[in-house]
Amino acid sequence: MNDIILKADNIIKYFYEPEKFQVLKGISFEVKKGEFLALVGKSGCGKSTLMYVLSTMDTDYEGSLTIKDTVLTKQSQNELAAFRNENIGFVFQFHYLLPEFSALENVMIPALKLKRYSRAEIEEKAYKNLEMLGLKDQALKRVTKLSGGQQQRVAIARALINDPAVIMGDEPTGNLDTANTQIVFDIFRELARERNQTIIAVTHDDDFAKNCDRIIEMKDGQMV
C-alpha cells in the first residue's frame, strides 16, 4: 500500500511583476496519508505561494505535483477544478465566502457541485459541520452578518464538506481567539487521526505547530 498522499517534486516558481523574482526555489517533500503537517516560516518566505501551487489553483510553476497518485501538473483547468472539488478542501488566509448566501449554503455549495449525496443529506452534514464549529445558530444568517472569526469557521466547515483527502489551510486560525483556535486544532487532529484525512496548515502559532505530527520550515523559498 502506497501511503504517500501528496508528493511535491522540485517545485520552482517565478513572479515576473514588478521584476523577475524566484519565489520557490526547488521544493520537494512528501506527505503521508493521515498526517497533520504544519508549514512555518517568516512572512514573505513563500508559504502562501506554495499553498496555491499545492492546492492546484496555481498552474504556473516548474516541477511536478502528485496527489492521490494523480499527476496534476499539466492537467487542464477544468480537470483540476473537478479534482479540487472532490479531493481538496482549502481554507484561505482571508476567509473567502460568497457574500450573497447564508452560512449554510456556503458550506453546502461544494457538495451540491460534487453531487455525491442528496440535497437533504448534504444539508444535514453541513449543519453538523457548523455545529461542530459552534455556529449552529448562525447557519441561516447571511455570511456578511457574521464576525470575522465566525466567517473563518464557516470557511473551515466548507472545506470539510466533501470529506476531502487533503485539507489545506493558509493561516486558518489567523483570525481566531485562543478558544476557537483550540477547537479548530482539535477538529483537525481528529480528522487526521480518526478519518485518516491529511492536513497541511500554514501557521504562525507556535503552540499550534508544536502539536502537529511534523513541521516543515521554509526560508526564502526553500525548505530548511
Binding site: 496555481d58 473537478a82 472539488n85 482549502f90 460568497l98 455549495i109 461544494p110 457541485k113
Partner: protein, 413 residues
C-alpha cells in the same frame, strides 16, 4: 436541472440586486415592444395599401395582349440576312377572350384561388347634356365581382346586387357623377369607339377612394356590355383572379400559363411601384427595430460586464471550490437568458399595448379612420426570438470572459 447549484447561484445573483436586473430587463422590453410596434404598424400600412390597391386591382389578370408581332415573317426564316419589309403592319386578328368558358373551367381546378370574375371592359364616352367625358364601362359578373373586389362595400348610393336585374342600369363613380352632373335615376348616354350609342339609368353611385377609378369608371351587368358590343355570351375582355396569398402569385401563373393562350399577368408585374413601396417599408421597419434590439443588446452586454466585474472575487471563489469554466459560463448565461425571457414577455405585452394605443389615433384619409395596425402572432414570436438571440449573444460574451478568470490571480490579492 432546475434545482442545480448553478441555477441556484444564478437566481441569487438576479435577486440580490433586483434594480440592476430590472434595468437590464427593461432594455429588452423596450427593444421588443418597439420591434412589435414598428412591424405591426408597417404591415398595417402595407395591408391598408394593399386593400386600397386591390379594390381596383385583382391579384392575377388574364387578358388579350394583342397579336404577336408577325410583321417581319421573313426574319424568322432567315434570321441572319438583311431583309427589309416596307410599311409593315400588325394585323388585328382577335380582340378580347373568345373562349372564356374553357378558361374558367381551367381556373376552377386550381387551388389557392379564392375567387375569379369575368369582365367586359369598354372604352367609352359618357355624355350627359353638353358634358362629354372619356372613361370605361365595366360589364361585370355581379356576384363574383363583389367577391373579388368587395365592390358592394363601395356603394354610397344604390344596392350592388340590383345590377343583376337591371339591364339598363348603371353604377357610376362618385367623381364621374360630379363631373357629369349625374344624380340617382338620371339618364346617361354612352358612346363606344365603334360608334354604338346607348342610354342607361344611374341606379347607384360608388366611391373606391382610388381617384382614377372614381373619376372614370361605371359598372353595368356583363350581358348589357356584351349587347353594347354585339358579341356572344362567351366573350370577355378580362378575367380577374383573387388568390389566398397575394404575395405568392407566381406558382399559379406557372401552372396555367401553358394552358391559356392569353396573357396571364400578376399584379406585381403591372404595379412594380406598389411592390417596391411595401418592401421598402418592410425594410425600414426591420432596420429600425433591429437597431433598437441591438442597442438593447449593448445595454445587457454592459450590465452583464459590470456584474461580472463586481463579482470577480466570487467567480474566483467558485472556481477555487471546483466549479469549471463552463459552470461559470452557465451561471451567467442563465441570468442573461432569464433577463431575456422576462424582458421579452413584458415586451410583448407592452408592444401590444402601444400598438393598441397607436391604432386608436385618428387618421382620416383615403377611407381610413385610424392609423393602421396589425397584430400578427408571428411578428410577436419573431420579436421574442430576436430578443432572446440578442440577450444570448450579449450575455454569452461576458459570461465567456468570466469563465476564463484565473482564480489565483484574484485571490492572491
Amino acid at each position: 436541472m432546475f434545482s442545480s447549484i448553478n441555477n441556484r447561484i444564478s437566481q441569487v445573483h438576479l435577486t440580490s440586486d433586483v434594480k440592476q436586473t430590472i434595468v437590464a430587463m427593461l432594455g429588452v422590453t423596450f427593444g421588443i415592444s418597439m420591434y412589435i410596434f414598428m412591424t405591426g404598424f408597417m404591415s398595417g400600412v402595407n395591408d391598408t395599401q394593399a386593400d386600397l390597391a386591390f379594390s381596383a386591382l385583382a391579384h392575377v389578370r388574364i387578358y388579350n395582349d394583342g397579336p404577336a408581332d408577325n410583321s417581319n415573317i421573313a426574319r424568322k426564316v432567315f434570321p441572319d440576312d438583311i431583309i427589309n419589309v416596307r410599311n409593315a403592319k400588325v394585323i388585328k386578328y382577335t380582340d378580347g377572350i373568345k373562349n372564356s368558358t374553357t378558361i374558367l373551367s381551367t381556373l376552377a381546378k386550381q387551388k389557392d384561388i379564392t375567387g375569379y370574375t369575368s369582365q367586359v371592359n369598354i372604352n367609352v364616352f359618357f355624355k350627359n347634356a353638353g358634358n362629354k367625358v372619356n372613361g370605361i364601362v365595366s360589364g361585370v359578373d355581379v356576384l363574383n365581382e363583389d367577391k373579388v373586389y368587395g365592390s358592394s362595400k363601395h356603394m354610397i348610393q344604390g344596392n350592388w346586387n340590383e345590377l343583376k336585374y337591371r339591364s339598363d342600369g348603371l353604377f357610376v363613380g362618385v367623381e364621374l357623377a360630379r363631373i357629369l352632373g349625374l344624380k340617382m335615376n338620371d339618364n346617361v348616354n354612352i358612346l363606344t369607339s365603334d360608334g354604338v350609342s346607348h342610354n342607361y339609368k344611374v341606379i347607384g353611385i360608388f366611391r373606391t377612394d382610388v381617384s382614377s377609378v372614381d373619376k372614370t369608371k361605371a359598372y353595368v351587368a356583363i350581358n348589357a356590355a356584351r349587347q353594347l358590343l354585339g358579341v356572344n355570351q362567351d366573350y370577355v375582355t378580362d378575367i380577374q383572379i383573387d388568390m389566398v396569398d397575394y404575395n405568392n402569385t407566381q406558382p399559379l401563373i406557372d401552372n396555367i400559363k401553358s394552358l391559356i393562350p392569353y396573357k396571364v399577368e400578376s399584379w406585381q408585374m403591372g404595379n412594380q411601384q406598389l411592390v417596391a413601396g411595401s418592401s421598402l417599408r418592410d425594410t425600414i421597419a426591420r432596420a429600425v427595430s433591429l437597431t433598437i434590439l441591438l442597442v438593447a443588446g449593448f445595454g445587457i452586454y454592459n450590465i452583464m460586464n459590470m456584474t461580472i466585474n463586481q463579482k470577480i472575487r466570487e467567480i474566483a471563489i467558485l472556481k477555487a471550490m471546483g466549479f469549471s469554466g463552463s459552470d461559470v459560463t452557465k451561471i451567467f448565461l442563465t441570468q442573461a437568458i432569464i433577463i431575456g425571457i422576462l424582458g421579452g414577455c413584458v415586451g410583448m405585452v407592452l408592444g401590444y399595448i402601444i400598438s393598441r394605443l397607436v391604432n386608436r389615433v385618428k387618421f382620416e384619409i383615403a377611407g381610413m379612420y385610424h392609423l393602421p395596425m396589425t397584430y400578427y402572432p408571428h411578428n410577436y414570436l419573431l420579436a421574442f426570438a430576436f430578443g432572446l438571440i440578442t440577450t444570448f449573444i450579449a450575455g454569452y460574451l461576458p459570461a465567456h470572459k468570466a469563465s476564463k478568470i484565473d482564480p489565483v490571480s484574484i485571490l492572491r490579492g
